[in-house]
């Protein structure tokens, strides 16, 4: 034989490893399911968030949502007002009336950046502007809290105040 047996064995081993690896990658695997919610500034970027706003004037932000559940889902972002120490947890949403909401359907691995404009009427210090992510249970039509939320503390002042 022109090729030495040992050389052929080594070459076959390399080819075998490469092919088994390729076959393993070919078989579809389940995805690591997660949902993401992010708060962005007026320009749709991280940073430059407002800290002081004037009551009655609109606050402009963006909310980033991503679906990585392995299927298309209907999501709802709900804006609420809280305060320092009164924000949602991973299991319970904030017990407060929604001041803004937006519903959308996202495919797997799809994301959306939603412009938000809310007007805060009441003055206050450390007002928490909270955004919660909810998902629709298509079987019974109920909204389920995903445990994902963002918040931004704002000082809401009167117009003309220093």
């Amino acid at each position: 034989m022109i090729i030495d047996d040992e050389v052929l064995a080594v070459l076959t081993a390399i080819v075998t490893v490469a092919c088994v690896l390729a076959a393993a990658l070919t078989v579809p695997r389940g995805v690591e399911p997660f949902l993401a919610l992010g708060l962005l500034d007026e320009k749709g970027k991280i940073g430059d968030y407002p800290t002081r706003v004037i009551a009655g004037e609109p606050v402009k932000l963006h909310v980033f949502v991503m679906n990585h559940l392995g299927k298309a889902v209907m999501l709802k972002v709900v804006g609420k007002l809280g305060s320092r120490g009164n924000i949602p947890t991973n299991s319970t949403p904030l017990n407060s009336t929604p001041i803004w909401s937006y519903e959308l359907i996202l495919e797997h691995n799809q994301n959306a950046t939603i412009p938000v404009q809310v007007t805060l009427q009441k003055e206050g210090l450390n007002v928490a502007l909270v955004f919660e992510l909810w998902t629709l249970n298509a079987t019974d039509g109920t909204w389920v809290y995903t445990g994902r939320w963002n918040h931004l503390y704002l000082n809401v002042t009167k117009a003309g105040a220093p």
């Binding site: 052929l8 088994v20 070919t26 298309a72 359907i105």
Partner: protein, 138 residues
């Protein structure tokens, strides 16, 4: 009285249409989740349902309901084709894996033979010359 009855009838019809739309919307969403989890391309239907949501937000219920009904028909059709889709999908995956796993034995069998052929082909112009035992010339 006539106007009150008319208004009541209109309200009942409107409520019924919204309830129907919501039922159709939920059914469409349920099918959308099922089909997308199986890998069926539902991008168009997702875009259309998002458009319907925009119309619902603008209180254009009739237009939104028409879109939802159309999307539901498309999704029902896709659901009917799901077993065929799954069969071809798994056949495709199975074929790829089988081909990849067949490469190593094929390589082991054919490579030495092909190498020998290539070796012989590259030396096809060589001449075989008899060399005398005491002749040091090549």
């Amino acid at each position: 009285m006539k106007y009150t009855l008319g208004l009541l009838l209109f309200s009942i019809l409107l409520a019924a249409s919204i309830v129907y739309s919501e039922g159709a919307f939920l059914e469409a969403l349920r099918l959308l989740e099922e089909l997308s989890s199986e890998g069926v391309d539902v991008s168009f239907q997702v875009r259309e349902l998002n458009r319907a949501l925009e119309l619902y937000r603008g209180n254009l219920t009739a237009e939104a309901g028409a879109i939802v009904t159309r999307v539901l028909q498309q999704l029902t059709e896709l659901k009917r084709e799901l077993p065929t889709f799954k069969f071809w999908k798994w056949l495709d995956v199975g074929s790829r894996v089988a081909i990849l796993l067949a490469i190593p034995p094929a390589f082991y069998y054919f490579f030495p033979r092909l190498y020998a052929l290539a070796w012989a082909y590259s030396r096809r112009n060589w001449l075989i010359k008899e060399v005398k035992k005491n002749d040091n010339r090549r």
